[in-house]
Amino acid sequence: MAEPVQILMIDDEEPFSFFVKLNLETDPRFKVTTALRGDDGLKLAKSIKPDLILLDIMMPGMFGTEVAEKLLEDPRTKDIPIIFLTAALKKDEADEMDGRIGRREFIAKPITKEELVIRIEATLELKK
């Protein structure tokens, strides 16, 4: 069997990350690492070089958007696809953000497992 897809999840909602990890890892194709803060997430991104990052936008300390900017600045992480997760984003805000941090995937919380898997697969397909 091929190596599982490494997913880094950066979200301050610990129970949410916990359940996303549990859900995704019921599928042997996925391996999930979680970080509760933006700066911790950045460090992990550099060390484990994930295939995909699930990034919450509204977090204390560093916002998801800032984390994304820093990931783009670093050659080691700039090509990692990002899917933003957010509980508050509306369509117009997403469009505005597109201009600032480049076109990215957005997922509005709450989301079902099925949808999440479809979005991850679609993003990875795109990458290949």
Binding site: A88, P110, I111
Partner: protein, 397 residues
């Protein structure tokens, strides 16, 4: 005086009439004479206004009082006087008392006195005339004033009603805006826990295997979370400040599009759709997406009101609004169970719902907000067991 003053003397003695004519020879009066009451009446008929009539009492056939009473009936404005000896005083006094004779001149008369009496009588005639004119004009002015007052009152009522409606709309839109702000503020705090519940139950489902009971528990938890999310989304629609993009549109195209979305649901519920579109309808300027949202809301409400099937009549016609402006009127009439009278005033309020849980109670208030933004109106009429009709009026381009 510009008006020629006419005085009629009636006496069966031509000599008396002669004396009278001579008496007023140098006055500016037109003197008429008659030798009997009958002739006197004929003079009245054949002459312009006679201002004063002076009649002898004792005359064959018609006496002076009888003659003057006839005059009173037909020419009440003429000042009537009678000349009589004391022998006939009683009859004369009675006539005076009845108000039919102005003055009694006793025989024999003094010429100066006669002249003064006539001058006074004339003064009385013109005063009365002026008085009557003034009264009439006053009555007329009064009526004008009354009508003006009535118009003013109507105007005040109309304006007050309009003001109250505007205020109501303002309060409503402020309420909605406040809800939107609140919703945007709490959405994040609510959606995160909902996301946790959703993911948690999904995991449960994947690990409990074929334990049907636990599968069901997980399903119900997940449904509840998604339902709460629907409500939050509904609330957020109030905070959307997206500017409307108006385009000239044929309204029936939008109606047909929304019927296509809901076709499956309508068929499943055994609901017949009857379209009655008037020919050559004027175009309207609308934000197509928002207006379609309104139509879908009305269709969904109607579908919910007809669980055992029924019919939906959609009429589109040209009409006029209260201010006489041309509008397109769209009517959605269902044959559902209707809305209770005590509830009908609330159906456009946010969070008001008569449906089962899971309904936000926002559909109609959002719809009303959209129609308001188009400068239109939405109203409802309903009869229990007969159905409900929604009337939307949109201004014509």
């Amino acid at each position: 005086m510009e008006e020629t003053v006419r005085i009629l003397f009636v006496d069966d003695e031509p000599s008396v009439l002669n004396i009278m004519e001579r008496l007023f020879l140098f006055e500016d009066y037109e003197i008429l004479t008659a030798t009997s009451g009958e002739e006197g009446l004929r003079k009245f008929e054949g002459s312009p206004t006679i201002h004063i009539v002076i009649s002898d009492y004792r005359m064959p056939e018609m006496n002076g009082v009888e003659f003057l009473e006839e005059v009173y009936k037909k020419w009440p404005d003429t000042v009537r006087m009678i000349i009589s000896g004391y022998a006939d005083l009683d009859a004369v006094v009675q006539a005076i008392n009845r108000g039919h004779i102005y003055k009694f001149i006793s025989k024999p008369w003094n010429n100066t006195e006669m002249k003064v009496t006539i001058a006074t009588a004339l003064e009385r005639y013109f005063l009365r005339k002026r008085n009557r004119e003034l009264t009439e004009s006053l009555l007329h002015k009064n009526e004008e004033l009354r009508q003006f007052n009535e118009r003013l009152e109507q105007l005040v009522t109309d304006r007050t009603t309009a003001l109250m409606q505007t205020q109501e709309q303002l309060v409503q839109s402020e309420k909605l805006a406040a809800i939107g702000i609140l919703a945007a503020g709490i959405a994040h705090e609510i959606k995160n826990p909902l996301a946790i519940i959703t993911m948690g139950t999904e995991y449960m489902k994947s690990v409990v295997g074929d334990n049907a009971m636990l599968q069901e528990v997980a399903d119900r938890l997940k449904q509840a979370a998604l339902r709460a999310d629907t409500i939050v989304k509904g609330l957020l629609s109030y905070s959307r400040q997206n500017p409307l993009s108006f385009k000239e549109t044929d309204i029936t195209t939008l109606i047909d599009e929304t019927l296509t979305f809901t076709e499956h649901e309508l068929q499943r519920k055994n609901i017949e759709v009857i379209r009655k579109y008037a020919d050559s309808l004027p175009r309207v300027r609308v934000d197509a997406n928002q207006i379609k949202q309104v139509f879908v809301n009305l269709l969904m409400n109607g579908i919910d009101a007809m669980p055992a099937g029924g019919s939906f009549t959609i009429r589109v016609e040209c009409s006029e609004n209260g201010a006489g402006k041309k509008v397109v009127q769209i009517v959605y009439a269902d044959t559902g169970f209707g809305i209770l009278a005590e509830r009908i005033g609330k159906i456009f309020d946010p969070f008001f719902t008569t449906k089962d849980i899971g309904n936000t109670g926002l559909g109609l208030s959002v719809s009303k907000g959209i129609i308001d933004k188009h400068g239109g109106t939405i109203n409802v009429e309903s009869r229990i067991e007969e159905g409900t009709s929604f009337f939307i009026r949109l201004p014509v381009v």
